[in-house]
C-alpha cells in the first residue's frame, strides 16, 4: 500500500512538473499578421491604394532572395529581436520555419522608451501591459523597405503579458504602423499604413 502511494505521488509530481514547464514556455517569435494599404502614384498621376498583407511583405523579401516556396519561410514578430543597440528593441524578421535565426530583418522597432530622447512607454505596475510608440527603421532595400539611417515611420504598440509574470501565457501584441519608402528603380515613393497582431508562436 505504501509503495502504491509513493508511486502515485511520484507520478503526480512528474505530471505536475511537466505541465508546469509546458505552461511556462517562453516564445519570443510569433507569426506576424499584417493587413494594410500601400499608397503609390500610378502612371496616370493618381494615388492608388493597394491592399497588402504579411504575405506580401514576405514575398517581397523571399522571392528576390531566391526562395520561391513561401511555405518554407515565415515573417515573425521577434520580441527583443535586437539586443545590440542603445535601446534593445523588437524586430520583424524573415526566418525559415525550421529555425529561429533571422534570414533578414524587415523592421526594427526602436527608441520608443529611450529616456535620452525624452520618450516613454506606459507600463502597468505588474509589468504585464505596455503601450509604446516606436520608431520604424529599415536597414536594407526591398519593395517595402529601404536602407536608411533615420526612422522611416512609426508604430504604436500594445503589449499584454510579454514579460514573464505568468509564464508568457496569453501573450498579445497588437499595433498600428505607417512608414514611407524612398523611390527605388522604376518605383516612385510608397507610403504604407496598416495594423498587425501576433499569429501562432514559432520559437
Amino acid at each position: 500500500m505504501k509503495l502504491k502511494t509513493a508511486f502515485f505521488l511520484i507520478v503526480c509530481a512528474l505530471m505536475f512538473r511537466g505541465g508546469a514547464t509546458a505552461s511556462a514556455q517562453s516564445y519570443t517569435e510569433y507569426k506576424f499578421i499584417f493587413t494594410g494599404t500601400a499608397y503609390q502614384t500610378n502612371a496616370a498621376g493618381k494615388i492608388v491604394g493597394t491592399p497588402i498583407t504579411d504575405q506580401t511583405l514576405l514575398a517581397s523579401r523571399a522571392i528576390p532572395g531566391g526562395i520561391s516556396d513561401l511555405s518554407t519561410v515565415a515573417i515573425v514578430y521577434h520580441i527583443g529581436g535586437d539586443t545590440n543597440d542603445v535601446e534593445p528593441g523588437d524586430t520583424v524578421d524573415i526566418i525559415y520555419t525550421n529555425s529561429p535565426n533571422a534570414l533578414t530583418t524587415e523592421f526594427n522597432l526602436w527608441f520608443g522608451s529611450n529616456a535620452g530622447n525624452g520618450r516613454t512607454a506606459v507600463t502597468n505596475a505588474a509589468q504585464s501591459e505596455v503601450w509604446r510608440a516606436d520608431y520604424i527603421y529599415t536597414l536594407n532595400n526591398s519593395l517595402y523597405t529601404f536602407q536608411n539611417d533615420d526612422s522611416i515611420g512609426l508604430c504604436i504598440t500594445h503589449k499584454v503579458n510579454v514579460t514573464p509574470t505568468n509564464g508568457f501565457a496569453n501573450t498579445s501584441i497588437t499595433g498600428e504602423m505607417s512608414w514611407g519608402i524612398a523611390p527605388q528603380g522604376t518605383n516612385g515613393p510608397i507610403v504604407v499604413k496598416g495594423t498587425f497582431k501576433l499569429g501562432q508562436p514559432m520559437f
Binding site: 502614384t41 520618450r119 516613454t120 502597468n124 503601450w131 510608440a133 522611416i152 515611420g153 515613393p189 507610403v191
Partner: protein
C-alpha cells in the same frame, strides 16, 4: 457727384468681394480630434481616458492662464511651421494670432533648405492636390498632455486633399491618425501615451 461716389464705392465693394471669393485659400481650420490617453493610475493599472480637441485646448488654456475657452481655438495650420511642415496651434479668436503650438507635424518629406536627406517621402498625385504622408510629431510645452522636447514624440499618418470650388476658393480636406507620448511633468503625474484620429472643421483663416 454723390451718385458717382456711391457707384464707385459699390463697385469697389463688389471688386473686393470678388477678389476675396476668387482667391481665398484657407490655411487654418478647426482641429477636430477624438482619442484616448493611456496612463497608469495609482493602483498600478493602465487606464484609458477619452480625450478630444477640447481636452487639449483646455490643457493649453490652463497653461496660458486663459479661462474663457470661447476666446481661443485649436486649429490645424497648413505649413504653420515652415519649412518643416504643418502645425496644430492654439490661436486667439480675436485676431487669429498663434498663442502656442500644440503639435508640429514635421519631416515627413524633404523640405526647402534641407541639407541632408532624412530619407522620408510622401506620396503625392500629379496634380498636387492629394497626398499621403507619415510625419513625426513634436510637442513644445509642458501640459497634462504634452511634453517640451527637442526630439519627436510620436507620429501622424495624414491624408491631404485640396479642392477648389466654383468660387475659386481652395479648401483643404485633411484627416489622419495621430499618437504621441509625454513624460511626467508638474501637470502630469506619470508617463502618458495618447492616440486618436483627427479631421478638419470649419476654415478659420
Amino acid at each position: 457727384m454723390k451718385m458717382t461716389k456711391s457707384v464707385v464705392i459699390i463697385f469697389a465693394i463688389c471688386l473686393l468681394s470678388r477678389f476675396s471669393a476668387m482667391g481665398q485659400a484657407y490655411v487654418a481650420y478647426k482641429f477636430i480630434f477624438n482619442g484616448t490617453a493611456y496612463q497608469t493610475n495609482g493602483a498600478g493599472v493602465i487606464v484609458a481616458t477619452p480625450i478630444t480637441d477640447q481636452t487639449l485646448l483646455q490643457s493649453q488654456a490652463q497653461r496660458l492662464g486663459i479661462t474663457n475657452l470661447s476666446t481661443i481655438s485649436l486649429v490645424y495650420h497648413v505649413n504653420g511651421g515652415p519649412p518643416y511642415g504643418d502645425t496644430v496651434d492654439v490661436i486667439s479668436n480675436a485676431n487669429s494670432q498663434t498663442l502656442t503650438t500644440e503639435f508640429g507635424l514635421y519631416f515627413g518629406s524633404a523640405y526647402i533648405g534641407q541639407n541632408s536627406s532624412l530619407g522620408r517621402y510622401a506620396v503625392t498625385n500629379l496634380a498636387q492636390t492629394e497626398q499621403r504622408r507619415v510625419d513625426q510629431v513634436y510637442t513644445f510645452s509642458n501640459t497634462p498632455y504634452t511634453y517640451a522636447n527637442s526630439e519627436s514624440l510620436g507620429g501622424a499618418f495624414t491624408c491631404k486633399r485640396f479642392l477648389g470650388d466654383s468660387n475659386g476658393n481652395t479648401n483643404a480636406l485633411i484627416d489622419g491618425t495621430l499618437f504621441w507620448d509625454a513624460l511626467p511633468t508638474q501637470g502630469n503625474a506619470g508617463p502618458l501615451l495618447c492616440t486618436g484620429r483627427f479631421t478638419l472643421g470649419q476654415p478659420v483663416f
